[in-house]
Symmetry: C2
Subunit: 538 residues, 2 copies
Amino acid sequence: MSINVSPIEASYGLMSTSESETDFVHHIALFAALLCACIVIGHLLEESRWMNESITALAIGLGTGCVILLTSGGTSSHILEFKQEFFFIYLLPPIIFNAGFQVKKKRFFQNFTTITSFGAIGTLVSFAIISFGATRLFPKLDIGYLEMKDYLSLGAIFSATDSVCTLQVLNQEETPLLYSLVFGEGVVNDATSVVLFNAITKFDLSDMNTYTALKFAGNFLSLFVLSTFLGVLVGLVCSFTIRTLYFGRNSTDREVSLMILMAYLSYVLAEVFGLSGILTVFFCGIVMSHYAWHNVTINSQVTTKHAFATMSFIAEIFIFMYVGMDSLDVEKWKFVKDSPLQSFGASAVLLGLMMVGRACFVFPISIISNLTTNRMSNKIEFKQQVTVWWAGLMRGAVSVALAYKKFTGSDEQSIQPANALLITSTIIIVLFSTVVFGLLTKPIINLLLPQSSNVDHKQPSSPKSIMMPLLGHGPDVDAERREDETLQNTTNLQMLFNNPTNSIHHYWRTFDDAFMRPVFGGRGFISYVTGARDVALT
Amino acid sequence: MSINVSPIEASYGLMSTSESETDFVHHIALFAALLCACIVIGHLLEESRWMNESITALAIGLGTGCVILLTSGGTSSHILEFKQEFFFIYLLPPIIFNAGFQVKKKRFFQNFTTITSFGAIGTLVSFAIISFGATRLFPKLDIGYLEMKDYLSLGAIFSATDSVCTLQVLNQEETPLLYSLVFGEGVVNDATSVVLFNAITKFDLSDMNTYTALKFAGNFLSLFVLSTFLGVLVGLVCSFTIRTLYFGRNSTDREVSLMILMAYLSYVLAEVFGLSGILTVFFCGIVMSHYAWHNVTINSQVTTKHAFATMSFIAEIFIFMYVGMDSLDVEKWKFVKDSPLQSFGASAVLLGLMMVGRACFVFPISIISNLTTNRMSNKIEFKQQVTVWWAGLMRGAVSVALAYKKFTGSDEQSIQPANALLITSTIIIVLFSTVVFGLLTKPIINLLLPQSSNVDHKQPSSPKSIMMPLLGHGPDVDAERREDETLQNTTNLQMLFNNPTNSIHHYWRTFDDAFMRPVFGGRGFISYVTGARDVALT
């Protein structure tokens, strides 16, 4: 067997280059069994004050890694080789699409300015501080030479937050503003950091001046706009097709298949055009839940809602389990053996920078947001600001995938010591932040927002599994309707005075009702073909 | 780039060894777009008297293959490399699991004897006739030397039927017996032919005598029994877990995830133990729909029902599209170029043998079945026998996958001329039977069973997408209930006299109600935890 294989051959399969077909089936079986175990144990620990799904998956991964390490005589700790292409092509799209599909659109767009400030500007601030801090502090640790590009990549990698843990604790009904801020920031942050990371790796940053900086910014912006546009376009095409052809007449499965395939298509199309698949698929999800979802049969509505959430759920626990298993990889620790202090030093420095970086934008942006809002319900209190700050301290799957993409080449043999150190630091940070910060989240939030403690255990386990009564409940029908009524009780002028974002939202709704819904369908829109169905729905 | 790669490296990815990462994303995008096109066109042609989904997918595959062939200058006709491992590990499990999950269990078990006779004994008869016929007729065609094993494999490959096309035309309500016979035979046939094929490839058949023949038969039987047992076991474990832990309390997604993962686990476990994954996952599907499905929330019921059907649907059109594309593969036709007559000759011989082989068991078994049944409604009329015979003439995905497994080695370079000829013959047979026989199916069945012609267009497109009203409808709740009533109006003795199978079914039901349902849950069983939910359901 040759080891001189092209890097791509083994990339999309989940396997290492040295295993046989039978081994592969064994490993898939073990992985499936572990995922089942993870779900069952996660369910049993549901009532626990401390645990959450991510920590359970990490712990199971670590445990399995130990067993494999012992049985294999210390040569290997994982059963499947994790390739970053696999993550970006198969695991990330369902997670992000589901985030867009289940987002409470009304809330999201009402707080649009604040959310994008947190997600986009905040990520940039975080990125700048981490990169700059690292360039100053890392040379003192003597960890070997790093290029400018490496520092910038580090900044992008560690500005990708993972707020799932906090979302599991927050109560969407009691603190709707806080929930939508944390959720929205998480999604925009994911997209921003990946776009930023890709821009950095593509761009030649060797001679940085005003011109290249401006070009970089322009590049970044056009990526943002074009990706969003593509996502909206694919979502609209899907809605229009389903509405015009009325698939439900013949088959529920065709509707569901078409939605799944179109969603995935939007992601790969973006990648083909060199755009950000994450942003595209996120907006595709929003548009689909706003139009297409209302054009399908009730069965398809229930199915898509839960099928997307399930895919996202499985992808998430898969990633955390893998991170747990991979954190014991002997190959990577071998490089660090001689200098364990440096690895922990680098991790500590990065953790510190992350905390400072977050503080540098959460509090200023909150204050500015409070100054521009007159509505009391939209003011972000200090305790809520601390919660937002805390929610973004965890690092998860995206950081790991980006770090792998950057610091492991196509060939495992060619890992530089400095790169190996950065990989191990990433693993340390992800493990530490997920486990330690994760375990502290429930107590801290109960301390900051004591009113939510009594309903804590009634919470659905995951933000994506909002338990909805079966009929007539869109991903956000209820919330929208309630706010529709509020909206109609205020005049346009009042609204413009009170909150400019709300007013923009109102004009959008008017436009939506007059032009978009008649063409693309949508909640409560009674069309000539789907009439009977929609009436039954509303 | 080395061509000396181990066979497994490229097997599980969907890609050829010569393409780059960007190419791969392009190809996935194209494939996703084609699948979408296939669904939309299939829907538009729904009303057509002749077309069905398989033919549409084949045609689109052929068309795309032509375009790629022309644009690539005649070097390649497909965009993704189809590996049989990919088919058996990812595409087949959802198709078979869904078949088990959606099967009308009551009907299936009522006609169990006839169905297994058709599926198991019939497949063996078919296998024997095709193998024997080929050993006699192929030498006359002068296609090169074939081993005994090759002839036996051919027999197994071409006894795997594909009755989807006929099922799309049959009306489940009007001809329930016929529908369950065709459906049941298709599933048992899939399993039998794959088990047979694996037994042949594993077994040393060089010196065939009574002892090895008996050993072979024993091996075959134990595979059958053990695989079934494993499937039932995993299904029961899943049902018990979901029932005992009551996942729905916290999250619908966990229930759905667990069902999907356990189903897949049953398949890979069977492969790990060297059993037949197809049989295992089929019985796992039956047990899950009988117990586990009734233990989950209503949302999970709707979701699993349609999500499984959707996965199966996508896998099926994917396969047919690929077959269309692959049928233009220049590599394979190159070998045949010098002897086109032989390739078509071999195909014609095999087609003839298939038709004879089917006739040799459908009519005898039907007659025996009619003699042992007293119930008029269970008699198979002559016209229905012809329909059953016709339904099994199409060859599809399983044949292609088995042929690839047998006749392409791990290395494309090593294809023998005789093997290439058998591959092209397989493609010709699949194309011909799917398109020609497929197009003739609707007219022929309307001729044989004229009563069904008037409701033809109201039919759901796929047997898996039975449009059910939303609530309280299990995969087979209605049918079961109706027959429950019939059952209670007859005494045990009468039943035993009329139909022994029915009586066995009755005793099973008593046992099921007394021992199984209290432990594993099931339709209408009101448990202490799930009480409220089940009452609402019934």
